[in-house]
Assembly symmetry: C4
Homo-oligomer: 232 residues x 4
């Protein structure tokens, strides 16, 4: 048995959550699961329909993007995953989808405004939308550069990948991450729901104000602060 | 067997209706079931996925918000439920969700206008949206104050909790209630449908007039009046 | 066995199609099935959830709205059905729903414009929206008057109930009919789809022109004309 | 056994994908599967509900639109399929649906703008919307002319049916095609998703710019170019 069996299994299970949560059409998405000690991650093979996936079909890749184990070609977004794992030491799972509402905000090139507590239960700022890549980066190693596009956006805005576990890549679609692949998938579903609610909010009231600071702080802290009292 | 078994079972069944009706993502909702004679209610434990719920996992809490029985921490919204049960003697069930359209109206900080008979079959006024809480209340016992935020809104507008069994909490999401937990869940689904129809109505006709008084009265009375002839 | 068993069975089956087609929430809809020779129709009992329906629970009512057989109270909309059966001799089934998009157009008090061939495959004019009832009619026998509200709208516009098998009742919701209950249910689903497409069409292009006459004529005739070649 | 069994089976399976993918209501769609050597295609019979379809019920038609084998009347859109097979030698499957968002864009008579990479992964230009047919063509052999309406649109714009495998027919609905019936169905689902995302994008940002050339080129080439690295 592969010594990577545990992350293959974990990546498989997390990938299978995507169609169940309505976040992907056909093969438009992928999840990876990292093992930090072994310095590798398991990721969905490219172009394989979800109904044909098995734990064994997951591909093992190192943090420089080299395939370590597996018969199939890894997801075309593999280099983006590798870059993020390499530079952000505290994440254990990454998800990329083209979920409908999240992708629409990415195509509109707008941050998703923080309008309510559903959003504030998960992050205290607008969901950032990274600007489209410049032409030189696109011509280069595109998926590799996408990783830097994401990291640069966080650096420029001074936000932490441990506090904000999601981003929209302008003109493209969402990426999310977390301590585990399961948490990263959870974040993808949260992003999609918050994206839909934000669009509807603006349709109901084009002058809808953002959530005020006191509420942002309260909701985030009850779930994430030192005195959190949400969950078990 | 617990002497609270009947409300645990009732709260469990009502909670399980929420995902079935499409009103919750993950754990974003909770239902409670009260026993007025025993002076307690059963409520969903905090952060537990619906697929893992059992009647036994429900937590028993008194109307001052103290846990009476149960191994798990009760829903983080428990104090809101307690306040409402304490002050509104004729309700037997309460529901809180972040359902998509109801939450969007709450984020937009607008009452849901009464545009048609689907709405009037259930209440004769706009669905009220309570204003966001002031900063002092937020810093205090937040969920406890949410209960007063709801009651104050009804008091200021002079509407009765027995005639209007639903509210939007501004920037947050809907709460509904009823004589039974089942009726409270029913009201949550009605609110979500009415919220979606009202948004679509304004999109189709931004000048759509509200329902006229004669129709409001007629539809409400055929379902709720002394000569009601709706249902068995 | 009841001599009305065949229409009870037919009404039961047609009613059960409504939740399957996503046209009703809870009990917000009803279907009836007429037997012209016996001068009666079978209709859903009032307020009974679809999952509890049986063929036996259907109520038999004559064309003056009197209950002929059945232990339960018939749908609160029964008088509307009776009026339409009495005055429109060539219909065998009637459906009333509060389907989301159809109801939104009714609340917006607008006809649904004929924008495309999906619409023209079924009728050659805008789907009419009857104006809200005047206050005197509302105070009277409301559901009975709803039948006349529908018929008056058709008379004033000079359209035939045999060519146009659907209407929106302003501020209320859709009614549809047909030679059979099955056809009436089919029409309810068509109305809902056409209603959604028309709203989306105006959102994509607020100046979208209506379908031109040559296309209206062609599509309708290929399905309904003397040389129709649609279907078997 | 029919010598056309293989395309009957293929057409049957592809047709059954349409309701599963949410692309059709009732019988509002059809798929055909061609055998280029035999010079025929198998197509859905007209007006038969999907749940009643069998491989045996598929109708065999030649590229001039003559029925070669089958007891049922072929889809009313058969002549359109025949024209496209006759003039476009490298397609093996065609799909027609009235899917909700695609049809709304067709009714709005607008091309679907290329706003993001979901679109660019499949084609490098806006999804074309052919103008409504002129009245003379409508009065003639309508479905036959629809084939020319499609081909004329591609000829006038100088785009290739091998690179762009989808079109909207103005006031009507989408057609898609591909090397296989399976690929044509895949394209119908892609069109519907891209159509929904494009509408949402314009709602979120009415000034949303189109995808820039460098990204269009990159995404298309990674899937379709000589050095493609998407899929297995």
């Amino acid at each position: 048995m592969s010594k990577y069996q545990h992350i293959k299994q974990s990546a498989y299970e997390a990938n299978m959550q995507l169609p169940k949560l309505g976040l992907v059409l056909f093969t438009f998405g992928n999840v990876s699961a990292a093992d930090r000690e072994l310095g590798v991650f398991a990721i969905k093979p490219s172009g394989v329909p979800y109904e044909d996936l098995t734990p064994e079909s997951m591909v093992i890749v190192d943090f420089d993007g080299n395939t370590v184990e597996g018969d199939l070609r890894p997801s075309s977004d593999t280099q983006t995953h590798a870059v993020l794992y390499k530079h952000w030491p505290n994440i254990g799972g990454i998800v990329h989808t083209h979920s409908t509402y999240g992708t629409a905000w990415a195509q509109a090139q707008r941050d998703i405004p923080i309008f309510g507590t559903t959003h504030a239960d998960h992050l205290t700022v607008d969901i950032p939308c990274a600007p489209p890549m410049d032409d030189e980066m696109i011509k280069g190693d595109y998926e590799y550069e996408t990783g830097f596009q994401i990291m640069n956006c966080f650096a420029e805005r001074g936000i932490s990948y441990e506090e904000v576990e999601m981003i929209l890549v302008g003109n493209h679609a969402p990426f999310t991450w977390g301590k585990t692949p399961h948490k990263a998938v959870y974040n993808s579903a949260v992003l999609e729901t918050v994206a839909q609610m934000a669009l509807l909010t603006e349709q109901i009231n084009p002058q809808a104000p953002k959530l005020k600071d006191a509420l942002i702080k309260k909701h985030y802290e009850r779930k994430h602060g030192p005195n959190s009292y949400y969950g078990q």
